[in-house]
Protein backbone atom coordinates (compact mmCIF):
# COMPACT_ATOMS: atom_id res chain seq x y z
CA UNK A 1 0.00 0.00 0.00
CA UNK A 2 2.80 2.36 0.96
CA UNK A 3 4.62 1.52 -2.28
CA UNK A 4 1.52 2.31 -4.31
CA UNK A 5 1.08 5.60 -2.50
CA UNK A 6 4.73 6.47 -3.18
CA UNK A 7 4.30 5.57 -6.83
CA UNK A 8 1.17 7.74 -7.11
CA UNK A 9 2.99 10.61 -5.47
CA UNK A 10 5.96 10.20 -7.81
CA UNK A 11 3.70 10.23 -10.87
CA UNK A 12 1.78 13.21 -9.57
CA UNK A 13 4.97 15.20 -9.03
CA UNK A 14 6.34 14.15 -12.42
CA UNK A 15 3.17 15.25 -14.15
CA UNK A 16 3.09 18.54 -12.26
CA UNK A 17 6.74 19.50 -12.67
CA UNK A 18 7.95 17.74 -15.79
CA UNK A 19 4.96 17.34 -18.09
CA UNK A 20 4.05 20.98 -17.60
CA UNK A 21 7.35 21.83 -19.33
CA UNK A 22 6.37 19.89 -22.45
CA UNK A 23 5.76 22.96 -24.70
CA UNK A 24 9.21 24.34 -23.79
CA UNK A 25 10.96 21.00 -24.26
CA UNK A 26 9.16 20.43 -27.59
CA UNK A 27 10.23 23.85 -28.82
CA UNK A 28 13.81 23.24 -27.75
CA UNK A 29 13.87 19.80 -29.39
CA UNK A 30 12.54 21.32 -32.60
CA UNK A 31 15.30 23.91 -32.49
CA UNK A 32 17.92 21.20 -32.12
CA UNK A 33 16.64 18.73 -34.72
CA UNK A 34 14.95 21.19 -37.13
CA UNK A 35 12.68 18.32 -38.11
CA UNK A 36 9.31 17.58 -36.52
CA UNK A 37 9.38 13.76 -36.45
CA UNK A 38 12.95 13.80 -35.11
CA UNK A 39 11.92 16.37 -32.52
CA UNK A 40 9.03 14.16 -31.37
CA UNK A 41 11.40 11.20 -30.98
CA UNK A 42 13.79 13.39 -29.04
CA UNK A 43 11.03 14.66 -26.75
CA UNK A 44 9.89 11.11 -26.06
CA UNK A 45 13.44 9.96 -25.33
CA UNK A 46 13.91 12.95 -23.04
CA UNK A 47 10.80 12.23 -20.99
CA UNK A 48 11.44 8.51 -20.75
CA UNK A 49 14.94 9.22 -19.43
CA UNK A 50 13.57 11.86 -17.09
CA UNK A 51 10.90 9.50 -15.72
CA UNK A 52 13.42 6.71 -15.15
CA UNK A 53 15.75 9.18 -13.40
CA UNK A 54 13.06 11.11 -11.56
CA UNK A 55 14.46 10.02 -8.18
CA UNK A 56 17.64 11.95 -8.99
CA UNK A 57 15.80 15.20 -9.66
CA UNK A 58 16.20 17.59 -6.75
CA UNK A 59 12.85 19.17 -5.81
CA UNK A 60 13.09 22.92 -5.72
CA UNK A 61 15.59 23.10 -8.58
CA UNK A 62 14.68 24.20 -12.09
CA UNK A 63 12.92 21.23 -13.72
CA UNK A 64 12.92 22.88 -17.14
CA UNK A 65 16.70 23.29 -17.14
CA UNK A 66 17.06 19.66 -15.97
CA UNK A 67 14.87 18.48 -18.87
CA UNK A 68 16.74 20.66 -21.34
CA UNK A 69 20.03 19.12 -20.22
CA UNK A 70 18.63 15.61 -20.72
CA UNK A 71 17.21 16.66 -24.10
CA UNK A 72 20.50 18.15 -25.23
CA UNK A 73 22.51 15.10 -24.15
CA UNK A 74 20.00 12.76 -25.80
CA UNK A 75 20.22 14.78 -29.00
CA UNK A 76 23.99 14.38 -29.21
CA UNK A 77 23.70 10.69 -28.37
CA UNK A 78 20.86 9.94 -30.83
CA UNK A 79 22.54 11.78 -33.65
CA UNK A 80 25.97 10.46 -32.75
CA UNK A 81 27.28 13.98 -32.83
CA UNK A 82 30.48 14.63 -31.01
CA UNK A 83 30.75 17.63 -28.81
CA UNK A 84 33.79 19.30 -30.20
CA UNK A 85 35.40 22.04 -28.21
CA UNK A 86 35.49 25.19 -30.26
CA UNK A 87 38.13 27.72 -29.40
CA UNK A 88 36.62 31.11 -28.64
CA UNK A 89 38.15 34.49 -28.15
CA UNK A 90 37.33 36.76 -25.28
CA UNK A 91 33.62 37.67 -25.27
CA UNK A 92 34.16 41.41 -25.10
CA UNK A 93 36.53 41.25 -28.05
CA UNK A 94 33.74 39.54 -29.97
CA UNK A 95 31.53 42.50 -29.11
CA UNK A 96 34.12 44.82 -30.53
CA UNK A 97 34.39 42.69 -33.65
CA UNK A 98 30.61 43.02 -33.99
CA UNK A 99 31.03 46.77 -33.92
CA UNK A 100 33.33 46.37 -36.90
CA UNK A 101 30.61 44.35 -38.66
CA UNK A 102 28.19 47.19 -38.07
CA UNK A 103 30.69 49.74 -39.30
CA UNK A 104 31.22 47.73 -42.48
CA UNK A 105 27.46 47.38 -42.95
CA UNK A 106 26.96 51.11 -42.52
CA UNK A 107 29.66 51.80 -45.04
CA UNK A 108 27.99 49.53 -47.59
CA UNK A 109 24.55 51.07 -47.02
CA UNK A 110 23.26 48.09 -45.03
CA UNK A 111 23.25 49.64 -41.59
CA UNK A 112 19.49 49.16 -41.28
CA UNK A 113 19.19 45.97 -43.33
CA UNK A 114 17.87 43.87 -40.42
CA UNK A 115 14.98 46.30 -40.03
CA UNK A 116 13.99 46.72 -43.67
CA UNK A 117 14.62 43.35 -45.35
CA UNK A 118 12.93 40.00 -44.79
CA UNK A 119 15.88 37.87 -43.81
CA UNK A 120 13.97 35.21 -41.89
CA UNK A 121 14.84 32.28 -44.14
CA UNK A 122 18.42 33.39 -44.62
CA UNK A 123 18.84 33.75 -40.88
CA UNK A 124 17.34 30.33 -40.23
CA UNK A 125 19.68 28.77 -42.77
CA UNK A 126 22.70 30.59 -41.38
CA UNK A 127 21.80 29.44 -37.88
CA UNK A 128 21.45 25.85 -39.04
CA UNK A 129 24.88 26.00 -40.62
CA UNK A 130 26.64 27.11 -37.46
CA UNK A 131 28.73 24.56 -35.53
CA UNK A 132 26.59 22.85 -32.85
CA UNK A 133 28.23 24.59 -29.91
CA UNK A 134 27.57 28.02 -31.36
CA UNK A 135 24.08 27.16 -32.53
CA UNK A 136 22.92 25.83 -29.18
CA UNK A 137 24.09 29.02 -27.43
CA UNK A 138 22.01 31.13 -29.84
CA UNK A 139 19.04 28.77 -29.61
CA UNK A 140 19.01 28.82 -25.82
CA UNK A 141 19.59 32.55 -25.28
CA UNK A 142 18.26 34.32 -28.37
CA UNK A 143 15.52 31.95 -29.54
CA UNK A 144 14.38 30.32 -26.29
CA UNK A 145 15.06 33.40 -24.16
CA UNK A 146 17.17 31.77 -21.46
CA UNK A 147 19.58 33.75 -19.29
CA UNK A 148 23.31 33.13 -19.72
CA UNK A 149 23.22 31.30 -16.38
CA UNK A 150 20.39 28.95 -17.42
CA UNK A 151 22.10 28.24 -20.74
CA UNK A 152 25.34 27.45 -18.90
CA UNK A 153 23.46 25.00 -16.66
CA UNK A 154 21.86 23.27 -19.63
CA UNK A 155 25.08 22.98 -21.61
CA UNK A 156 27.21 22.23 -18.55
CA UNK A 157 29.84 24.92 -19.09
CA UNK A 158 30.80 28.15 -17.26
CA UNK A 159 28.83 31.31 -18.02
CA UNK A 160 31.89 32.86 -19.65
CA UNK A 161 31.95 30.03 -22.18
CA UNK A 162 28.30 30.60 -23.05
CA UNK A 163 28.97 34.31 -23.47
CA UNK A 164 31.96 33.71 -25.76
CA UNK A 165 30.14 31.18 -27.91
CA UNK A 166 27.04 33.33 -28.11
CA UNK A 167 28.88 36.46 -29.16
CA UNK A 168 30.97 34.63 -31.71
CA UNK A 169 27.84 33.00 -33.12
CA UNK A 170 26.03 36.33 -33.39
CA UNK A 171 28.94 37.88 -35.21
CA UNK A 172 29.15 34.96 -37.64
CA UNK A 173 25.41 35.21 -38.30
CA UNK A 174 25.64 38.93 -38.96
CA UNK A 175 28.50 38.46 -41.40
CA UNK A 176 26.59 35.76 -43.25
CA UNK A 177 23.41 37.83 -43.39
CA UNK A 178 25.24 40.82 -44.78
CA UNK A 179 26.88 38.66 -47.41
CA UNK A 180 23.46 37.22 -48.23
CA UNK A 181 21.90 40.69 -48.49
CA UNK A 182 24.55 41.81 -50.93
CA UNK A 183 24.39 38.58 -52.98
CA UNK A 184 20.58 38.65 -53.06
CA UNK A 185 20.61 42.07 -54.59
CA UNK A 186 18.96 43.85 -51.70
CA UNK A 187 19.44 47.50 -52.43
CA UNK A 188 21.69 49.46 -50.13
CA UNK A 189 20.14 52.38 -48.31
CA UNK A 190 20.04 55.63 -50.25
CA UNK A 191 22.00 58.45 -48.69
CA UNK A 192 25.49 59.36 -47.66
CA UNK A 193 26.49 55.98 -46.28
CA UNK A 194 25.11 54.20 -49.33
CA UNK A 195 26.87 56.56 -51.72
CA UNK A 196 30.17 56.13 -49.94
CA UNK A 197 30.27 52.40 -50.46
CA UNK A 198 33.08 50.85 -52.38
CA UNK A 199 32.36 49.29 -55.76
Amino acid sequence: MADQADKREKDRRFQEAALSCLPDVARFALSLTRDEPDADDLVQETYLRAYRSWDTFEPGTECRAWLFTICRNAFYRMHKREERTVQCDDAELESLAAAAVHSSAEHAGFGDVFARADLHEALEQALNELPDQFREAVVLVDVQDHSYEDAATVIGVPIGTVRSRLYRARRLLQERLLTYAKDAGIAPKEGPSGLERNP
Binding site: K7, R8, D11, R12, F14, Q15, L19, L22, P23, A26, R27, L30, S31, E36, A39, D40, V43, Q44, Y47, L48, Y51, R52, E92, L93, S95, L96, A98, A99, H102, A105, E106, G111, D112, F114, A115, L119, H120, L123, E124, L127, V138, V141, D142, V143, Q144, D145, S147, Y148, R163, L166, Y167, R170, L173, Q174, L177
Partner: protein, 83 residues
Protein backbone atom coordinates in the same frame (compact mmCIF):
# COMPACT_ATOMS: atom_id res chain seq x y z
CA UNK B 1 29.23 62.63 -10.19
CA UNK B 2 30.55 59.54 -11.98
CA UNK B 3 32.41 60.09 -15.27
CA UNK B 4 30.54 58.92 -18.36
CA UNK B 5 31.63 55.62 -19.88
CA UNK B 6 33.73 55.80 -23.03
CA UNK B 7 32.53 54.36 -26.35
CA UNK B 8 35.00 51.48 -26.28
CA UNK B 9 33.67 50.22 -22.95
CA UNK B 10 30.09 50.53 -24.14
CA UNK B 11 30.83 48.68 -27.38
CA UNK B 12 32.47 45.86 -25.41
CA UNK B 13 29.39 45.40 -23.26
CA UNK B 14 26.63 46.24 -25.70
CA UNK B 15 25.36 42.68 -26.11
CA UNK B 16 25.45 42.03 -22.37
CA UNK B 17 23.49 45.28 -22.01
CA UNK B 18 20.87 44.19 -24.54
CA UNK B 19 20.64 40.82 -22.82
CA UNK B 20 20.23 42.58 -19.45
CA UNK B 21 23.12 40.59 -18.06
CA UNK B 22 24.91 43.49 -16.33
CA UNK B 23 24.58 44.96 -12.87
CA UNK B 24 21.93 47.66 -12.52
CA UNK B 25 24.64 50.30 -12.05
CA UNK B 26 26.35 49.31 -15.27
CA UNK B 27 23.04 49.08 -17.13
CA UNK B 28 22.24 52.61 -16.06
CA UNK B 29 25.70 53.90 -17.02
CA UNK B 30 25.41 52.40 -20.49
CA UNK B 31 21.85 53.69 -20.85
CA UNK B 32 23.08 57.21 -20.07
CA UNK B 33 25.91 56.93 -22.58
CA UNK B 34 23.65 55.61 -25.34
CA UNK B 35 21.17 58.42 -24.79
CA UNK B 36 23.70 61.01 -25.87
CA UNK B 37 26.24 59.21 -28.07
CA UNK B 38 25.70 59.58 -31.82
CA UNK B 39 28.37 56.95 -32.51
CA UNK B 40 27.06 54.17 -30.27
CA UNK B 41 23.32 54.63 -30.74
CA UNK B 42 23.22 53.36 -34.37
CA UNK B 43 25.20 50.33 -33.21
CA UNK B 44 22.57 49.73 -30.53
CA UNK B 45 19.77 49.85 -33.11
CA UNK B 46 21.69 47.54 -35.44
CA UNK B 47 22.18 44.94 -32.69
CA UNK B 48 18.66 45.32 -31.33
CA UNK B 49 16.97 44.69 -34.67
CA UNK B 50 19.29 41.75 -35.30
CA UNK B 51 18.33 40.16 -31.97
CA UNK B 52 14.64 40.80 -32.71
CA UNK B 53 15.02 38.89 -35.98
CA UNK B 54 16.67 36.01 -34.13
CA UNK B 55 13.83 35.91 -31.60
CA UNK B 56 11.38 35.43 -34.47
CA UNK B 57 12.97 32.05 -35.26
CA UNK B 58 11.20 30.59 -32.24
CA UNK B 59 8.89 27.83 -33.49
CA UNK B 60 6.04 26.30 -31.55
CA UNK B 61 5.35 22.61 -31.96
CA UNK B 62 2.51 22.36 -34.54
CA UNK B 63 0.65 19.50 -32.82
CA UNK B 64 1.23 19.72 -29.06
CA UNK B 65 -1.80 17.61 -28.10
CA UNK B 66 -0.78 14.76 -30.42
CA UNK B 67 2.70 14.87 -28.98
CA UNK B 68 1.37 14.82 -25.42
CA UNK B 69 -0.88 11.82 -26.15
CA UNK B 70 2.02 9.92 -27.68
CA UNK B 71 4.25 10.84 -24.77
CA UNK B 72 1.80 9.78 -22.08
CA UNK B 73 1.32 6.43 -23.86
CA UNK B 74 5.09 5.87 -23.95
CA UNK B 75 5.40 6.81 -20.28
CA UNK B 76 2.51 4.49 -19.39
CA UNK B 77 4.52 1.61 -20.83
CA UNK B 78 7.15 2.54 -18.20
CA UNK B 79 4.54 2.42 -15.43
CA UNK B 80 3.51 6.07 -15.36
CA UNK B 81 -0.09 6.83 -14.52
CA UNK B 82 -1.46 10.18 -15.59
CA UNK B 83 -3.88 12.03 -13.31
Amino acid sequence: MKPMLDCDTVMRQLWAYLDQELTEDRMEAIREHLAVCARCFPQLEFERTFLEQLGKLRREHPNPQTLRTRLVAALAAEGFTAF
